[in-house]
Amino acid sequence: MSKVTLAEAPPGVEGAGFFATSLDKAIGLARANSLWPLPFATSCCGIEFMATMGSTYDLARFGAERPSFSPRQADMLLVMGTIAKKMAPVLKQVYVQMAEPRWVIAVGACASSGGIFDTYSVLQGIDEIIPVDVYVPGCPPRPEAILDGVLRLQEIVKNESLNRRNTPEYKALLEKYGIVTENG
């Protein structure tokens, strides 16, 4: 018995020598299990992300082997730590530079809502400037919580329809944030 666990196949029609499923599901499976993270670490949560990437917790087990520091090659933006208003344009710039499909996880209380820093200089949650898919609570969240957030995102990615990024709803969402899409 091999110790390697394979990703479960999506539901489909199976017979002798063939397996049929929808393209959405097959692509979702591939995407979900090779999410390349872009760590946007500003403060304390970034230190916990170091632990998450380290040998004890090992985020690489879930297909996030390669932290990509270039936005162009990343699929999921992990925003960890307080985003001050001075930093907000930079974060938005990074998000805009990412290629579709892109997902965002807000790790920690500060990125989700500003946390304990309800002050004039701190952005009260990154969802004021970019759309967020998963919020991870905690100040800072434990590495297990960050892993759980990534697993939740994998569920979202698996079940996302291929068309979603072309729908008017999605474009309206981006427009709400003042982000202009590349192809329109």
């Binding site: 208003k85 001075k86 309800d118 002050t119 004039y120 200089s121 009260q124």
Partner: protein
Amino acid sequence: MDKLDNQLILSSLQEKFGQSVKPLGEPHGLLTVEVDKEAIIEVLSFVKDDETLRFNFLTDITAVHYPKQEREFCVVYHVHNMLQNVRLRLKVFLQGPEPSVASATSVWNGANWMERETYDFFGVVFEGHPDLRRILNMDELEVFPMRKEYPLEDPNRVDKKDFYFGR
């Protein structure tokens, strides 16, 4: 080397600067003196270079805002004599609303960012500073946020209803 005590520091300061230096007490053993605005750089260089005082280490520069006082702003310098572990606190009181004092960057290079931070928070202008601009806050900020009249929270917030916070 004689043991440096607060009495000795005070007497040598007053001998040199007379009425420009006034004692403000010794809270928790730390001698605090008030220095006239005009004399501060001379006093700082004196305590740094004097053979007996030797406060060679600038620990910190910050400011305090007392809106109820006539001289609203107080710039606080902490200096440290490392050899004998004696600290000295110097205070300069300034008139608002646009306080200004000479920059200590000529005495210590390290005063540079400390003064920029103080300017950023309180709007104290340090004359002669090589690069006095905001350091922590955004350049677009129009106020000096650590002054007491400005609120902690962003007044432009719309998502926070006073109703939920009982006010």
